[in-house]
């Protein structure tokens, strides 16, 4: 089969290329150039990543192409992300990237160029119809993939989905891939969580504002822009010592960040949330589900009201942040999920 494999320059897609070739597929390695701009304190490694990916392709003697999606990535992922932050939400750009770029634009372009299937180095599996959790619990990436369309799943291969990460690395080492020991790339291209603040500061104009205690409405300090704060956040508030304060609420219109010392604050804990932009693959009554509220978080029993989009957890959950996703599973099937409203 002619398979177009997204190659990021990392170890997972490198090993995927090897596996696909070994399975007898005609593999075309593709580097998606989504971002190339350096920002203060952030060097975009796209050229090195591209070279690393190509190096593996050459070693395997497979075709290699570059798809330039910079414009689309900016529009569909970065602009979405910035708009969400401006609304006070904490979006997950990787989920959007998978939905709009890797499993849509990349797939469409690949099929136009003669692909019969696409593949990526994600830790996930399919049974030809459903998206399934990876064998490696620790690496399972279905949280980031939950929004991919049902149509693409039968035409998608996840070659490392049945492997555990240490074995992937060991195989890369054995094959002599220089990327075997490369540090993991995560987050929006090179941004990652640690740099999100700098990234936002580059693109969004911000104003300093007040930090207030939720219970007393007392002004405790100043922040440099409510956009930078996430519900449940404890660090980086620069408030007087003592018990830690948590961000419990943001008023974007007034540019006020509310904090609390009370870990049991109702604003932090809840067992019901409203989801929006829900995607559920296949018929499902919404009952007896398991939910994951962030990547690698333990699964919790939950049920979804398919009419209203309200999700009820079996036990209370902390820091459910608007903009983040809740992903829904039944057994090992990733059914879909929604975005916290």
């Amino acid at each position: 089969m002619k398979v177009f494999l997204g190659m990021s320059g990392g170890v997972d897609s490198a090993v995927s290329a090897h596996l696909l070739k070994e399975q007898g597929h005609e593999v075309v390695g593709v580097y998606m150039k989504n971002w190339s701009k350096n920002l203060p304190g952030m060097k975009c490694p796209w050229a090195e990543d591209l070279a690393d990916a190509k190096r593996v392709a050459v070693k395997l003697g497979i075709d290699f192409r570059v798809f330039d999606f910079e414009q689309e990535y900016k529009q569909k992922v970065v602009d979405y992300m910035l708009a969400e932050y401006q609304k006070g939400n904490t979006p997950n750009p990787d989920i959007m990237c998978n939905q709009e770029i890797k499993f849509k634009l990349f797939a469409e372009t690949a099929f136009e160029q003669g692909a019969e299937a696409i593949a990526t180095g994600h830790y996930a599996k399919t049974d030809g119809k459903n998206l399934l959790m990876a064998r490696d619990d620790n690496k399972d990436q279905t949280y980031f993939l939950y929004r991919i369309s049902a149509d693409i799943i039968p035409r998608t291969i996840f070659p490392v989905g049945d492997m555990i990460k240490p074995d992937v690395k060991a195989l890369a080492e054995k094959l002599g891939y220089s990327v075997a020991r490369k540090a993991e790339s995560m987050g929006v291209c090179f941004v990652g969580e640690a740099n999100m603040r700098d990234f936002l500061a580059e693109f969004v104009e911000t104003q300093p504002g007040e930090i207030r205690e939720l219970e007393t409405n007392e002004k405790l300090g100043v922040h440099d822009g409510a956009i930078f704060y996430t519900l449940g956040q404890r660090h980086g508030l620069n408030l007087k010592a003592g018990l830690p304060y948590y961000v419990v609420k943001k008023d974007m219109a007034q540019n006020i960040v509310y904090v609390s010392r009370n870990l049991n604050s109702l604003s932090l804990w809840t067992d019901k949330i409203q989801l929006k932009d829900i995607i559920i693959r296949g018929d499902n009554d919404g009952q007896n589900l398991q939910a994951r509220i962030r990547h690698r978080a333990p699964l919790v029993a939950a049920s979804l009201n398919r009419e209203t989009g309200e999700l009820t957890f079996a036990e209370q959950q902390k820091s459910l942040t608007p903009g983040q996703s809740v992903v829904l599973y039944r057994d090992n099937i990733c059914l879909g999920g929604g975005i916290i409203a």
Partner: protein, 382 residues
Amino acid sequence: MIYLDHAAATPLSDKALKAMTPYFSDKFFNPSAAYLPAVETRRDYEDAKDRIAHVIGAKGVDLVMTSGATESINLAFSVLAPNAEVLISAVEHASVFENAKRAANYKEIAVDANGRVKLEDLRAKLTPNTQFISICLVSSELGTIQPISDISRIIAEERERRAFAGEKTPLYFHCDASQGLGLLEVKVNRLGVDLLTLNAAKVYGPKGIGALYVGHNVKINPLTVGGGQEMGLRSGTENVAATIAFATAIEEAEKHISFERKRLINLKNRFVKELKDLPNIKFLGNPKFQLQSFLPICLPGLDAERLIFALEDRGVYLSTGAACAASKGIKSRTLSAIGLSDEEIAGSLRISMGKLNDEESIIEAARHIREVVAAEINRLAK
């Protein structure tokens, strides 16, 4: 390892390494300090500058030591007055090109199919307002040796014309001799240049040290100010160790210049013989005007970067065009300037030989290249 990228970097010569080592330990002193051991270090430094300058027929005081060719080039461009008109060749290093772009008005002098500056185009573009001309001694992608003396003759004629006409516009000639030093005779008077950029890293000296020769008629403007070192033209504590190593390396290269040239010509001929039957291969440039160490080739229809990775896997290291441009995916200006098509540019490799090569390694490298090219052609045929 078979290293075929001497135009990108050369290994530090043993002698140079040995010569520089004491200046990291016993002779670590700041050459500006007053006590005798520091003064001795200062003398060694100035002596090293004299030794470097001697190779190009100049004196130590005519040199401003820099961090390398890029800084030297930037310093050379510091002579430009606002609104200056600048001429550069179409095959310059990015540093010359980027500096020229900052000028109010710059033009590129066309080159022929071998990458040599067309003198008639220089004559056509040289106007009474031209203030600065920058042309490399050797193109870093093709190894083409430029007719520097012929160019400086044209420049001298224009200067004479201006003098007779009572025109006050100055005209400076800068030559970037990063490539070619150690294999060509580089004498400032014979070349007729006002400014000359030198770089240690391509003549078996260390990285991070270069020099700008500044003729007595030229007034450059320092880019770094401070303690007034280098006669106020480049402040900052002198890089004594690297300067000593530069001097040692360049003297060593100079001593063996004709031997090395002959050796490299033989290697190149052998290399050509080993590669000439590759399908559609083109040898770029004219050997008559090409540095002996260079063998740029073109394999239209193939992706040079794939070849580089395949060869890297076999321990053979070489580049596409200029190393700086390749990783950024920028199309080579030089190869466009000599009229290569996009397909030809994509299939171009730069082999540059040097001390690390002998005949055996060349035969071995050629075999690897043939095999890798055959595999690639085979893959594409499927």
